[in-house]
Amino acid sequence: MKNLSVKEKLLFEKSVSGSGAFAEEPSKLNGDKLGKRIPASYLRKEDIGLPEISERDLVQHYTHLAHRTFSVDANFYPLGSCTMKYNPKINEDIASMEGFACLHPHQSTEDIQGALKVLYHLERKLSFICGMDHFSLQPAAGAHGEQTALMIAKHYFQKRGEKRNKIVLPDSSHGTNPASAALCGFDVVTIASTKDGEVDLEMLAKECDENIAVFMLTNPNTLGLFERQILKICDVVHRTGGLTYCDGANLNALMGISRPGDMGFDMMHVNTHKTLSTPHGGGGPGAGPVGVKSHLAEFLPVPRVVQEWEKHQTWYRWSFDFPNSIGSVKTFWGNFGILLRAAVYIDSLGLKGLQNCSETAILNANYLRKKLEDTFTIPHNRPCMHEFVMTPDKEKSPGKTMDIAKRLLDFGIHAPTVYFPLIVKDAIMIEPTETESKQTMDEFVDRLKDIAKEARTNPELLEQAPTKTYRSRMDEVQAARNPVLQWIPNRI
């Protein structure tokens, strides 16, 4: 490959046949017996096409890739709605203990009491933190949790003999909400938010009829604002027999302060990879436990961990004894390794610690909001919760949102969430989280002010950005018009 250095090459381009750790190992097959054991037509006839590389080169390869990846460990990541807080290392150590990492999911009850205890107590604690009665720990992600909850709603109405097909949600909702709703076969009705960025109670009331199944809401909403009329919102939905669902993506603003269950939500999900510090992993794994009030508990996925008193001790086991359950939404029991990390995190902080997290998250967001309000436009400039939305200001920071985001990368700062929520044009959503120091935040403010100045005096710097990263402004049009989704030898 011309012009590509070793550092830039793909594994396939570095492959040297015979260099791998296993290259000289003889075949393990007993050739005499092979034909009797399995038909020849079932076997591979050609090479697979996997690369071969020495261990040393493999380590170098992935180490370079790691260097070319921003991470919470190295960079400030003020991504709104993502809660990129510090991922504690003790969680990793405990998750890799043999007594957890080497458990086979088919092992019987006596062998896994410790694991079941972790799950049981996590379920109890989540219920308490959120004001719900029961949680299912099965779903693998927030969107998975949403879909699970909507299936629960379907079964709930079916059991009551009610035909309800409508999901209502605000135009500020996260894309997974309508996607999950449509996948469950519901009709999706979107209602416009008020000019204050909150749910339009009148419009909601109009949609609350005998056909409404669920109203889905993120609270605080995706503008970082607490829905001040939340009690009325839940009430108006309940009055016509609908259910309320809380997208728990913003739970980091609420712990120890206000519980979704107390707000009137019937169901919710939690993103452990947001609020509960499990690492994002560049796209997972996470977990999306689903919480419900008691009138919906019978529909939760099976199996569930139950606690029993047997032979003079407390005993835990899996139970399928829930005849109205929707079934299972995942193979085995859920993302145990991730749930374990969340349990460790909760224990490391305790109730007071979790409350402190949420309070500090709110403090940090408001601090940034105040420091930036003179340079950027803040459409809803009142005390926010753990995040806020701003846009470029025509005079003080006249750059395009995308260019501002790219320029931040040059300073080693990951861009905030951009162009979401859709209801604010050119939105920049900032969520510092509670783990970031004043120094980090002050530097972020200084960089943004520098960028604003560049936008006024030297806009090419923004348009050309980023110039200090490994690559700059990928041709996404070409990538979508002529997708190349696997390595093709000699291409480019």
């Binding site: 510090y86 043999e98 939404v329 390794g337 690559r471 979508a480």
Partner: protein, 452 residues
């Protein structure tokens, strides 16, 4: 305070900057009725303050010790999760904090590393499965199978056929997701343990797809090529759900006629971890590229003409298409896919073949030795990869045998009676390269003891 970097003085400074005298003022938008007042209520065994690292470690070490991991006991359990040796490099490279604590690559310039790693993963999976396009992971084997089933039904409404020996957990997932149209789920009996045209031809009506798990839940290998030919003759799709380690040895399903290949990726470099996190893989022919769920990493160039990678075809996804999205998947299993890629790269062409061969040979040697024990025989005399099902003599109770083996520090296998009433005397045993001669000898000896 744990993980929070402010001193009380810093907090005061910040409150001043914000322009409030008390933090409480920032919470004025929250109705007082729903403010948390009494924390202690219902918090039975919680610590208000949180545990120190020493106490945390102690607590969880004790909890871990209440479990019996496969590192302390010889496990022959399979059934959808397999104990393979995870090389040290996979653990070290796969847990690099740069990968672990990064985010989805919406800003490609700052994430070329992870994007390239996922592109390499996609490329390896395409070669392994003989398909054109792989996504960057799904939640697990069962949910990726469910998504494949949805794709088939969207293409052509009709029945989804599958063997009775499809993984029971996957059957349960299908039942849950297709609960509105249960009539399309068509479980086909397999009297000889495998699907054949004979067993399928009794199904009438439109066929959307035939789902073939290979090897199936009892460990038996299915004839993918013949089954693909059959379902294509009915204008249906073949969805192959495969064990990726077996593909080091078995032919790529794409070359045998599969339209979609899915499966559980855990055996590739991911710990058993009591059932998760695992990952599902999905590979399709190129016609399906714009209709498949999951993240896709594509190759492109940057403004300076240098090769790089981006998430592409995002208009299929929820953050753009919303209610018209193909799937709602957002967070998937990127780190698990990364570990799989590192595992495959470390083993390489020859290594994966060797691991697969070793699993095959050890399983066959063991099966032959066990079947020399009076009373034990294969439930179905059919080809298998590294998992096989034995039938016990009628008077023996499978769970009891397993209990006795457990007392000899052996996890003997999975008793099938929980899921298959007609297989009440059957135990499925999985063998991987992790077992040495001594362990295999001990296993045979233990069986000899318990079976008399």
């Amino acid at each position: 305070m744990r993980y929070i970097p402010h001193s009380p003085e810093t907090v005061s400074e910040m409150l001043q900057t914000i322009g409030v005298s008390h933090f409480e003022e920032l919470l004025s938008s929250i109705p007082t009725e729903i403010r948390v007042k009494d924390r202690a209520t219902g918090a039975d065994s919680w610590e208000e303050k949180g545990l120190s690292e020493i106490d945390l470690s102690r607590k969880y070490k004790l909890l871990a010790e209440e479990n019996t991991p496969t590192s302390k006991i010889d496990s022959y359990l399979g059934g959808g999760a397999y104990e393979h040796f995870i090389p040290s490099v996979v653990k070290h490279l796969g847990s690099k904090p740069e990968f672990l604590t990064s985010y989805t690559q919406y800003q490609p310039e700052s994430n070329q590393g992870m994007l390239q790693a996922l592109f390499e993963y996609q490329s390896m999976m395409c070669r392994l499965t003989g398909m054109d396009v792989s996504n960057a992971s799904h939640y697990d084997g069962g949910t990726s199978l469910m998504e494949a089933a949805l794709m088939a039904v969207r293409r052509k409404p009709g029945k989804l056929l599958f063997s009775t020996y499809l993984n029971p957990m996957w059957k349960r997932i299908l039942k849950t997701y297709f609960s509105e149209t249960p009539e399309i789920l068509c479980e086909v009996t397999a009297p000889d343990g495998v699907l054949t045209e004979d067993t399928l031809k009794n199904v009438d009506g439109n066929i959307s797809a035939l789902i073939v798990q290979n090897p199936n839940y009892l460990g038996i290998t299915e004839d993918l090529e013949a089954l693909a030919a059959y379902v294509h003759s009915k204008d249906g799709m073949l969805i192959a759900a495969v064990n990726p380690i077996a593909l080091g040895f078995l032919e790529a399903p794409g070359k045998l006629g599969a339209d979609i290949v899915v499966g559980e990726g855990q055996p590739l470099g991911n710990a058993l971890s009591y059932g998760g996190p695992y990952f599902g893989f999905m590979c399709v022919k190129k016609d399906w590229m714009r209709k498949m769920p999951g993240r896709l990493v594509g190759q492109t160039v940057d403004r300076n003409g240098r090769r790089g990678f981006v998430l592409t075809l995002q208009t299929r996804e929820q953050h753009i298409r919303r209610e018209k999205a193909i799937s709602n998947i957002c967070t998937n299993k990127a780190i698990c896919a990364l570990r799989a890629a590192i595992y495959l790269a470390y083993l390489g062409e020859s290594g994966l073949k060797r691991v697969a061969e070793e699993c095959f040979e050890k399983a066959h040697e063991l099966q032959e030795r066990l079947c020399q024990i009076e009373g034990l025989r294969l439930s179905f005399d059919k080809p298998f990869f590294n998992e096989f099902t034995l039938r016990l003599p009628k008077e023996k109770h499978a769970p009891d045998i397993l209990t006795q083996l457990r007392r000899l520090n052996i996890l003997g296998g999975i008793a099938q009676e929980a899921d298959y009433l007609h297989l009440s005397s059957d135990i499925t045993i999985a063998v991987t390269e992790t077992k040495n001669q001594e362990q295999l000898d001990r296993f045979v000896l233990a069986w000899k003891q318990v079976i008399i």
